[in-house]
């Protein structure tokens, strides 16, 4: 009987196995497809323009009519790098302290409230961030700093800093909560206070996870397009805090719809550059997660 049952179960087993396999392959296939497509469509423009002038050219004038068009994306690269760094500088301290509070210090009820607030923050669509930024932040910056236009790198940095908070907080909280209670007990039993314990024992023990959280935030910031497009002025200037700027993402998004020829190919190349950045960040993330597992 038992033998029989096993036999009839086997084909079903195999089918289920196959379904899962296909699902897995679809995922891998998508990644491969996108990678190959980006490389194939991104390389021609780089070849034509030249890698150095493309990456380090300071002028982006893709639709110039009277003069020769220019395809230098240094302004975009720097804007993305500065914007991300700025968001990290503002967002990480806040996110870090919020995580310690949520994971270790907050009373139960407040913790629940804060955690759902963080989840909500993560769920707000980026166009809403952009909208609020446009209506509140941009005029605010204009008045506060007395500049002609508030749509600037600074506005984008602030929006990004807020947008990366949920990723940083969620991952850090998970890492902090995974710190064995035994470590904390040992510290308390030696006469350390709660706060001392969290900063000297829990945080160091969770440092790989917290580093991964920061890297995740970097990835989120560098890949964001919609919100930053709405608050950054979207002009291809070299970055300055109060300058209207354009990011790698927004450079692609804002010209794609009406582009053609070399301009269009160059946009693909920008996407390829962005893709390389994301890959590097992913590698960093894997590095930290792996180290976490080994520790």
């Amino acid at each position: 009987m038992k033998q029989n049952k096993k036999h009839t179960a086997k084909p079903i087993e195999a089918i289920v196995h196959g379904v899962f396999l296909v699902a897995g392959l679809i995922t891998v296939g998508c990644v491969l497809l996108i990678t190959v497509y980006l490389i194939i469509s991104g390389l021609p423009a780089i070849k034509e323009i030249g890698l150095i002038p493309f990456l380090f050219g300071k002028v982006w004038a893709s639709t110039a009519k009277t003069t020769e068009p220019s395809f230098g994306i240094l302004p975009f690269i720097l804007t993305s790098v500065y914007g991300t760094c700025g968001a990290i500088v503002l967002g990480v301290p806040v996110g870090f302290m919020a995580s310690v509070y949520i994971a270790k210090l907050a009373p139960k009820k407040l913790k629940a409230v804060m955690q759902s607030a963080v989840s909500l923050l993560a769920g707000i669509p980026s166009v809403v961030y952009g909208l609020v930024g446009m209506l509140v932040l941009v005029p605010g910056i204009r008045k506060l700093f007395n500049v002609p236009d508030g749509a600037s790198l600074l506005a984008a940095i602030v929006v990004l800093a807020i947008m990366i908070l949920p990723s940083i907080i969620k991952v850090s909280v998970t890492a902090l909560e995974a710190v064995p209670k035994e470590y904390e007990d040992a510290s308390l039993a030696l006469g350390a206070t709660e706060v001392e314990t969290h900063f000297k024992v829990s945080v160091p023990a969770a440092r790989s996870g917290i580093a991964a959280a920061v890297v995740l935030g970097v990835g989120r910031a560098i890949g964001e397009a919609m919100a930053v497009m709405m608050v950054s002025g979207n002009a291809a200037n070299m970055p300055g805090l109060f300058e209207s700027v354009r990011f790698l993402t927004t450079a692609v998004a804002s010209e794609m719809s009406y582009s053609g020829g070399l301009q269009r190919q160059a946009l693909f190349s920008i996407a390829l550059v962005l893709f390389v950045f994301i890959m590097l960040i992913n590698a960093a993330l894997n590095f930290f997660l792996k180290r976490d597992k080994e520790a």
């Binding site: 035994e182 308390l188 030696l190």
Partner: protein, 255 residues
């Protein structure tokens, strides 16, 4: 207890509740200085709870209610204004599962002194060596002080934890089944160590192992369902228990 023995901890009418569940019922016990007191009893009878009350490690558990008093060197540890950090410095704790920090051996030992404000490098070096010697593990680790403590064996880790507790110069050491996760050789090392340490420290040790209580302790307290059933000299308790329940427990009839 004989009244002429000098007690360092004096517990009176101690009751403790976790929410509605009463885990300790009217405990009265005097723990004499420079002795080893063993706490025995079946699982869940409140031994760990009692031990944690002595250095106020229960404070952090929500919904704990405590009545009665615990006097340490004549002072009530629950009195308002008591410096809990200082109390925990003086009353050290060693846990059931060895729990070194994921740091170097040196930093594990130096953690406590640093927390209490010692920054001087030479002084820390001194304390580290002294503590490791005190816990009879110096020779095994002196060449690898900078290595991660998690690389030590379980028995070594536990002795490291004892050294870490000694590094803040406590008077009392509370040990909660410190050998239950260890092999027999490591266990006997820790037992030997405990017997040496009582020259300088007062030790209260929870143990599941009756032979261990007999081997190392001066006094034994038998807990059952949150009550202290019997407390007295270890030899007397194990040869002539006065309570029927104690007799049943030590002869292995339940537990």
């Amino acid at each position: 207890m004989e009244a002429n023995e000098k007690s360092i901890l004096s517990v009176k009418e101690l009751c403790l509740w976790y929410g509605n569940h009463q885990a300790l019922k009217n405990i009265n016990i005097d723990i004499p200085k420079n002795s080893i007191t063993a706490l025995i009893g079946p699982s869940g009878c409140g031994k760990s709870t009692f031990l944690k009350t002595l250095d106020r490690m229960n404070d952090l558990i929500p919904d704990v209610k405590i009545t009665g008093s615990v006097e340490y060197k004549g002072e009530d540890i629950f009195a308002p204004g008591v410096d809990v950090s200082e109390l925990r410095r003086q009353i050290g704790m060693v846990f059931q599962k060895p729990n070194p920090f994921p740091m170097s051996i040196y930093d594990n030992i130096a953690y406590g002194p640093r927390t209490h404000g010692i920054r001087n490098r030479a002084k820390l070096d001194d304390i580290v060596e002294k503590s490791l010697r005190g816990a009879a593990i110096w020779d095994e680790v002196k060449d690898r002080l900078r290595k991660n403590a998690l690389g030590l064996s379980g028995g070594q880790q536990q002795r490291l934890c004892i050294a870490r507790a000694l590094a803040v110069e406590p008077d009392v050491l509370l040990m909660d089944e410190p050998t239950s996760a260890l092999d027999p050789i490591s266990t006997s090392k820790i037992e030997e160590l405990a017997m040496q340490l009582k020259e300088q420290y007062t030790i209260v040790i929870v143990t599941h192992n009756m032979q261990q209580a007999v081997r190392i302790s001066d006094n034994t307290a038998f807990f059952l369902l949150g009550e202290l059933v019997e407390y007295g000299k270890t030899e007397e308790m194990f040869s002539q228990p006065t309570d029927k329940r104690t007799e049943d427990y030590i002869t292995g009839r339940f537990g």
